[in-house]
Symmetry: C2
Subunit: 158 residues, 2 copies
DNA sequence: CATGATTGTTAGCCAAGGCTAAACTGTTTG
DNA sequence: CAAACAGTTTAGCCTTGGCTAACAATCATG
């Protein structure tokens, strides 16, 4: 029953990089990320629906499915959820529309997305990489950071 | 409720912001994000275990649970998964250790995390915000962008 | 050294977000 | 105008990642 436990011990903090954040703060970090994950997908759908409406005049489930690379059944299920959340109005077998709340969310998401995307390009990231990274990052950037990104981009472009 | 469709219609692309990306590219963006989500949590656990080992000499389930703000049962279940994936070795009721592969993952994650964190600080983001944002962003930053962030940070600090 | 506190595990529940297969609707066209 | 096809929905399944409650092991300590 002896403890093993490689005594790799006593690692002096000075040699082992940044210290652990205080417990409370650390916990808050993870919680924030978990919360973001809950809304992330919803926002992506709403944003995409908004984009389809703006660019195509309609948003069909099939388009969403192919753009998201997901099955139509998955989209259908998600639409019901969006409906229940009061973000879209849908009549069976017809195009979707956003409720007022949905439009607000789409607008906000699109704005965030664009700030991040333009920021990455201003930083010097290749366009197609920037698109991919922006898609992943947009939901994890605080308002504070977003504002800084925007300022940075503007300075770069002047 | 029936005022459908602000006829914002026929939106000329020039007025409606960036065009939709070509379908294939668009689909790849979402796929990349979905894939990131699958490994994200795993990496967070492994990274945290690595940090606990470095700073404390041991990684107990209770510590992980409180730092992640998650129940012990959740941690216990996750540890079995990490075990199955060959990332940690665990004997019941004992501290965890990382396998060689786990250590590699922890190292890589930690490095990414630090690059993003230091980049955000160099950009001018407040420390506690930077920590939160870094936690969320780290899994969505491509190698290309990461390299650019690192260069930027170094220039800033010179 | 017994016992209570702490820590870890197991069982069983739930929601989210995927999937395929099958059923249904709407549209196009022969 | 009927049949075929494209689009949509439903049913039912799976995995992940949470949770609580009950139980088990370990550890401190009176």
């Amino acid at each position: 029953m002896s403890d093993h436990q490689q005594q790799r011990t006593s690692s002096p903090p000075s040699l082992s990089g940044d210290a652990l954040p205080p417990l409370e703060q650390h916990a808050r970090q993870y919680e924030t990320v978990r919360n973001a994950h809950e809304t992330e997908l919803i926002e992506d759908y709403v944003e995409l629906i908004g984009d389809l409406l703006r660019h195509r005049g309609e948003a069909r489930a099939a388009d969403i499915a192919s753009r998201m690379a997901v099955s139509q059944a998955t989209v259908s299920k998600m639409i019901r959820r969006l409906n229940d959340l009061g973000l879209v109005t849908s009549k069976p077998y017809r195009s979707l529309f956003l409720t007022e709340e949905g439009q607000k969310m789409a607008e906000t998401s699109r704005a965030r997305h664009n700030v991040v995307l333009h920021f990455l390009r201003a930083l010097g990231v290749n366009d197609s990489t920037a698109r991919i990274d922006a898609e992943g990052m947009e939901h994890h950037v605080s308002d504070e950071t977003l504002a800084i990104m925007q300022r940075f981009t503007e300075q770069q472009n002047s």
